[in-house]
C-alpha cells in the first residue's frame, strides 16, 4: 500500500513497540522510482505515443500480478464474471491496495454503451509530476491505465484503457479520468448473461 510514511521518534529504542511492520511504502520512495521509470523511458523513445505505450505496458504487468494476488487474498473463492462486478472490484479493492483509498468515482459513459470512466481528483502517480507544454496531452496516468488494462485483460474482459485530463472549473489542476472502452465480445457476453 502506498501512503505517507510517518516515523515516531522514541527516546529509548527498547520502548519501541514490536509492531507487525508497516503495510505501507513511503510515498517519496515510490515517487522517485516512478520518476526514474519515466525518465528512463523518455531516453529510449522518439515520440510521445511510444512513451505512453511503454508506461502502459509497464502497468499491464503490474495489473496482471495484482489481479492474481488480490483474488487470492481478498476475494477467497469467487470469480468475477459480470462487468459491473469487475469494475467495482477495480474501483474499490484494487485502488485501495495500490493507492490507499477507493477511487473518486465510477461512471458509465453517456455516448457509447461500452465506455466507463473512473475518475480521480489527483492521481497519486501524477502528484509530483507536471507535464511540460510541448508534450501536449501526455499523461503519466498511462501507467495506471496500463494497470487497469492488465486487470481487465487477465480477468477475461478485453478493453482499451486510456488516461485523460479533464479540466474542472474552479480548480487549478485538472481532474484525471481513466476511460475504459470494452471490446465487442464483452458486451455480447454481458447481454447473453442477462
Amino acid at each position: 500500500m502506498i501512503g505517507v510514511g510517518k516515523i515516531k521518534q522514541y527516546s529509548n529504542v527498547l520502548d519501541k513497540p514490536l509492531g507487525k511492520g508497516k503495510q505501507e511504502v513511503s510515498l517519496s520512495a515510490f515517487a522517485f522510482l516512478f520518476s526514474e521509470l519515466v525518465q528512463y523511458n523518455q531516453t529510449q523513445v522518439d515520440n510521445i505515443a511510444e512513451l505512453e505505450r511503454r508506461l502502459e505496458d509497464a502497468g499491464y504487468a503490474v495489473g496482471a500480478r495484482v489481479l492474481e494476488l488480490l483474488c487470492h487474498r481478498e476475494k477467497g473463492n469467487r470469480r468475477e464474471t459480470r462487468l459491473l462486478g469487475i469494475l467495482s472490484f477495480i474501483h474499490s479493492t484494487v485502488w485501495k491496495v495500490l493507492f490507499g483509498k477507493v477511487a473518486d468515482s465510477l461512471e458509465k459513459g453517456t455516448e457509447h454503451e461500452d465506455e466507463y470512466m473512473i475518475s480521480e481528483k489527483e492521481l497519486l502517480v501524477n502528484r509530483f509530476i507536471s507535464i511540460p507544454k510541448d508534450m501536449g496531452a501526455f499523461n503519466c496516468g498511462a501507467f495506471v491505465a496500463g494497470v487497469v488494462r492488465g486487470v481487465l485483460d487477465n480477468a477475461g474482459f478485453p478493453a482499451v484503457v486510456t488516461a485523460h485530463f479533464v479540466p474542472v472549473d474552479g480548480q487549478q489542476r485538472p481532474r484525471t479520468t481513466i476511460l475504459i472502452k470494452f471490446a465487442e465480445e464483452v458486451l455480447q457476453r454481458e447481454a447473453r448473461l442477462g
Binding site: 492474481e68 473463492n77 468475477e80
Partner: protein, 143 residues
Amino acid sequence: MIVCLAVVGHQNNPLYIQSFTEADDALKLHHIVHCSLDVVDERVNNPKKSGPTLNETFLGLLYPTENYKVYGYLTNTKVKFILVTTDLDVRDTDVRNFYRRFHAAYVDAVSNPFHVPGKKITSKSFAERVSTIVKSFGLSSSS
C-alpha cells in the same frame, strides 16, 4: 497419494506439470490432465445456474477414471489447477485446503518480475514449495 499436478494457462497451454510417482507413465498422466481440460471448459461454459456455485473457483471432482480421481480449480485469470490423485477416500475439505496453499504458492511465483506470463514457471522455489505441500497433503488425508 497425489500422482500428478498441473497448472494450465488460459489458452490451455501448460505452465507447470509435475508428476510425483515413478511408477506410472508420465505421458499417461499428461493425457489424463489433457482430457480433464475439456471437462473444465464444459463446466465453465454451461453453469448449473445455481447462485453461489456460479463463480466458485473450486470445481470439485471432474471425473473419476480407472484408478485415479481428477480435481479441478479455476482462478480468476482462467488459469486451471488440475490434481490427479490415487486416494479413494479423499475429503473435500482436504482438497480445498490443498488448493488454497497451492494457489498461494502460484501467486508468489507469478509475482516474480522475471516471470513472463504465458510461459512455463521455472522457479525452483515454487517447485520446492509445491513438493512440500504435496507431501503434507498425503499425510493429513491418510490419518
